[in-house]
Point group: D3
Chain length 301, copies 6
């Protein structure tokens, strides 16, 4: 490589840093809630890049807070333990035995892996669940109605919960002391019963409670598309009204629904910006945060 080129190249790199300056300035001291999941939680390369991004945010004065669920790993461990995964209307039914596995996998495996991952990039992560420091009190969800075999059925999803009360003090305390909280979506109700929570919803509620600047939900798609067969119709900015329309039309469906709900809930509680972004892109968070372009779909109220 010739020397001049190399110097130009370096200067180009430096310029990238200074381009980030206005963003760093305007986000200093704010909270970013990151819902971590999908490929970014599986692919080694992506895992490391996500962890780097999180640690970088911390060092430049932003307070990242990470929320994660369990995904496929719960099913893996369950089957190895001979526990059958029951679905009703496409939803996982969580009995006591299943809940035990959920807790072990989320708090004992995935949470600890993520803590280790962030630490290996130089951060100081501390793993939490809803129990730790009374972070959130949950309640069992009411039975839901599902269509199955052409008829409506009422299904009790078992030990599945939703947030009743959120007390973010332990997150604030840890963030203020330089730690990065990593939170698994495990709840406990007033009677001490463990409950499985939807991690997207937890992230949205937490973002609201922290008056976060941004909520970032990592997915395995490019964003939300206007048409079912997608690709050409990526929506950059999605309004709440439009979102509800697309849900009704079943264009937004499945796992994307709680993500959109999470965004709307966070916005309703005062979060400034919410984003559904493609976790398969390396450094997707930095791209979203530090470029004007933005990636994925921004949901606005």
């Amino acid at each position: 490589m010739n020397k001049l080129t190399s110097m130009d190249d370096l200067i180009g790199k430096a310029q990238v840093l200074t381009e980030a300056l206005p963003y760093i300035r305007s986000f200093a001291g704010s909270y970013f809630v990151i819902k971590y999941g999908g490929q970014a939680m599986v692919n080694e390369d992506l895992k490391r890049s996500v962890a780097q991004d999180i640690v970088l945010l911390k060092y430049i004065g932003i307070n990242p807070v990470v929320v994660h669920g369990g995904g496929k790993e719960v099913t893996n461990v369950s089957s190895r333990m001979g526990i059958e995964t029951v679905f009703a209307g496409g939803l996982r039914v969580t009995d006591e035995e299943a809940m035990e596995v959920v807790e072990m996998v989320l708090a004992g495996k995935i949470n600890q892996q993520l803590v280790g991952l962030i630490n290996s990039q130089g951060g100081k992560a501390v793993g939490l669940s809803g129990k730790d420091g009374h972070l959130f009190v949950s309640r069992k969800k009411s039975p839901i109605k599902v269509w199955e075999g052409g008829q409506e059925k009422t299904v009790d999803l078992g030990l599945v919960g939703e947030i009743e009360q959120l007390n973010p003090q332990v997150v604030l305390d840890l963030s203020a002391r330089g730690y990065i909280p990593v939170i698994s979506s495990l709840g406990v109700d007033a009677q001490g019963r463990n409950l499985n929570m939807n991690a997207d919803h937890v992230a949205g509620e937490l973002a609201g409670a922290l008056q976060a600047e941004k909520l970032l939900l990592l997915t395995d798609v490019e964003g939300i598309f206007e048409k079912k067969d997608g690709k050409e119709s990526l929506i950059s900015v999605l309004s709440g009204k439009k979102a509800r329309e697309l849900i009704k039309k079943e264009i937004i469906k499945g796992g994307m629904i709680p993500k959109v709900e999470s965004c709307l809930q966070a916005l309703a509680k005062g979060v400034k910006k919410t984003h559904i972004i493609d976790g398969r892109i390396k450094h997707c968070m930095l791209l979203e945060i530090f470029t004007d372009k933005g990636i994925g779909t921004m949901v606005v109220s």
Copy 2:
């Protein structure tokens, strides 16, 4: 019950509180490291009484820090997952698959149960492992020599670790903000490899690093006995020299060895008092702390 008796009874109760006063005074602000295990981790009644004691300590101005291992639960889950538990010279060999179970059970199940238990008694617990906030860096233990079938063999215990460096900042930060840290004996080495740690040793090291006032190790025996057939020969105060003698004579043996080692190590690092106490006695910790009598065996340097 007649009224006067009842009043006398109440006054008696009040007197008990004031008897605790000199102890409360002298322990205000100090750290107590509690190694939790055995029956006290299984029996519902004992579990609740231990949690009450811990919360009481916190409210009267002492900083309790709880350390726990996994014990039998690891074997239970392992067998349900079809993982064979391998012993060599009476010691558990931990391969990668086994380590995964150890982590899930310790950080995901037992730690969370204990956090929930303490919270249900009004404390604010936060679960930690060696990874959280870089609490401890471990290293793999060297292979050990064991006698088996009449001959010495060298056994690599696999992913079993010992503490290389202990950084108690996250424990201090959480304690100072009113939380009760609950720590599972899971380590991670500099390469990010998970390691299974002996919880007694972790408790001893941590007590040293915190310059704890007391180290309390809960066991399922009354204390250390001078003779093999025990009972009548409980030792109230055991010196380091005597301890080493009894280990050589194989009177102190098995799981009691790491407990005694933990005490001696803590004492060497400046911990004031170390106690091996009978966790099967309700409120055993309060008895040890708030009465002159003391229970179990106190180990002194």
Copy 3:
């Protein structure tokens, strides 16, 4: 005593401590104003038990604040100094010479004794009067009307005062630094004239200014009785309305009147609970605070 019994006994004692836990939790950080007087200020055994209770409260995170008057000791010293005690309509008239004795006895003798007593139990007491740190500014009470010899007379009680303005900063400052303020009911008016204050009233006002959790008035009776000949008719919970009725009926009379007034005044300013309790019972305060039963009469608004 046989060993098992003794252990059961100890466990029973420990249980008493844990029974106090919910109260300790809910009172942490709050202020308790204690009006000290009667037998509890004379009997050696009771004096020590009251001091123990106060120090215990401080150590478990409550801020006790003690208020006292002078009682009989003023008359004793007066007579020894050849100063005649003048009563008008049953009330002590305080001229300048008498006031000098009141000040010496309250600030110089009783206050210092109580400070010494609390210190001897391990507390750090600091004696104060209304002057110290401008704690309260008083004003001379207007002449009152009394019935004497069958006719109404207007009596000027002399240097007797009531609180005009209360500035609790010095109490807050000392409490926050770990001290137990002990306050004599001595006032000073804007012109610097010393005034004798009713200690019950001072306690009630101070409880209000501190937004105290509890006001505890120690007396030499079991509480307030519904009937004049008492005993069987102790009132556990007394409403303000009922109290005013009983005063009119002269069932509540004499020294009990300022106590009830003190409670009502404190309640009006936001104090949560006010109690008139029997100071002749050992550890009467702990009984009131740490048992569900309660003792004496609770006055509610």
Copy 4:
């Protein structure tokens, strides 16, 4: 008065303020211990001027700490209470009855008067004795030898004490929060027995414990004189060696001895400057502090 003169006069006044500037600068934040006594404690005009000076010191950033004894007032009250004052070898013997009077007069009368006086000039004084906040622990003085009727006698002075241990925390805490501590020379020994202390000695010890910048002892003479018949021989600067000589020669004698001892003791513990000054001069302290001239006798080590 003509206008120009008046303006010159005002400018002269302003100049006085600026002349004080270098002293204000160099003393900012330091402690001054003032032993208050003699005429300055009796004459109304002097009392007010001393109080003004103390408050002024506080406002310009110096921490004044006032120590006082009881003087003649103890004898007055004693005689009114029919208590005979016993002297042995010219020294007051303090039995229990006498001690009670000492405490009442010092803590209840003089201390409170001085607190009121300082408050009336706009300061925030808080009265203390040796008991308050465990300020000092005393011990009974050993019997002393005196010459009486031409022969040496051993006299037990009774409840007369000397400082065993001084814990200035409460003085530091109050000073830091803007209060002016006013301390009576009353001690208490480890057994809780009240002891009468020499106020000069207490002031010297306290100055040492606070690492005071200055110790100022107010007397009723102009200073220390070289010759018995005084006047012309005032010593401006007295060395420790010279002081011991003058004591031996009985030129320094009586109440001046503890004053000189107090100075020497304070100097030995690191106090920068110690002064015996004439309390009969209005604003004597300001003169000493804010002029180069100095008044009275400065004792140096």
Copy 5:
């Protein structure tokens, strides 16, 4: 000088100090904004006395903040650099070249001189301009109308500004750390263009933003007079209404107009007292602050 006289003299001096006490008490912690200018910025004796006064204020607990303009020195340096000073309707027109000189003289010469002067009297001054710490954002003043040669003309004064937004944080930060801020009346607009500001106006705005206790404007006259030929008609207290009248009548005119405007503006924003005082009198500020008499003209709303 005879000794008694000298002592009386000293006592008189001490009395002056105590006369200042009530003022020191009431002004503790407040901000005084001082517009420095005129003879007090030229005469060596006055310069030193002003600096002494400012440092004295700081030491006795007041926060002085100094604002200055450039005055004649700008014209001097301009002429030396061959830059012609252009006036339009009696007002200085500031083009870019002139502005460069204004900045150099104000920030580089006068500000630094004043910092040095205050430092030499024992203060810790820090020089600031409107740029430092974004102290104030200015905007170019609109062209003004002037009468010239009997007709109205519109004159663009060039780089002359007025305050758009004032951010006093840097002044608060420095004051809190013990420094004395010295501020030159140099502004910068949002585009980074340097602007010449009227120092009287800057002082008034700053006093408002700091919620100052006093605004003191130093001039070269005795105050505001009711009649044109002055002397006998000095107004001690001037109301806003009267001030506007006198401006209309052209009795208040020229450089006195911005001073009066500055006072009225400060009063409108909550400043307690504003004073126009004669800077030619030595220690004029101390006279104004520490005597009841007051000097010059106090402007009230």
Copy 6:
């Protein structure tokens, strides 16, 4: 541009940010002293890039401190003011008139420009000179010996100073509150006489006093070369010994000498790394700080 390329491009940019992470981590909280000068102080593009770099450093947790001299601008203004610049042995002789210009140009023009420049990039700069907050006390340099016309002459450089005592408190205070100190190399001696200082020396001394992590000196050359005709012989790492050799050989000469001296002095006082870098390269500081390559010459002890 096609979309995929653009995304790759963005990812590349993000990667640059994460490459900076290890440096950001290791430099968090440390001080960097930057001697600003040469082209970087003249060229608009470079000026902006330097300011961006400085602000970026501040936002990512480093404390930049900027030091500057005056350079050619002093000569410009001097000549416009008709002041002749006198050189003796190639060195500027500073008489009083010249010093006045130096002060105006440095503190009034260049310092304010740089403050404005940094502010325009979003930083909060505060300009200082040696006087502000008593930052440094200087002394006049002794006359130096120079060769002129083939013979040694002693030349008094006039008002040229060197640092006698450095008190960095004001820099620490401002940095801690989020400001960026910008310091002109103007000194003042104990007599209040202004002195012209060499900015390189000031930067080195200041770096030492702050225990800076890095000292960065911006020049107009690529670094230090081993041979006189340079280019191919750039020295990446220069030892003190080698530096002294090259000075003796006159390969290091002129304005480079004080730069090298500054580095050596800083290293002697504990500064970790010192660098002479080419200020003509855009973002030269970021290149030096955030890449492994490094640019220019690093001087080591």
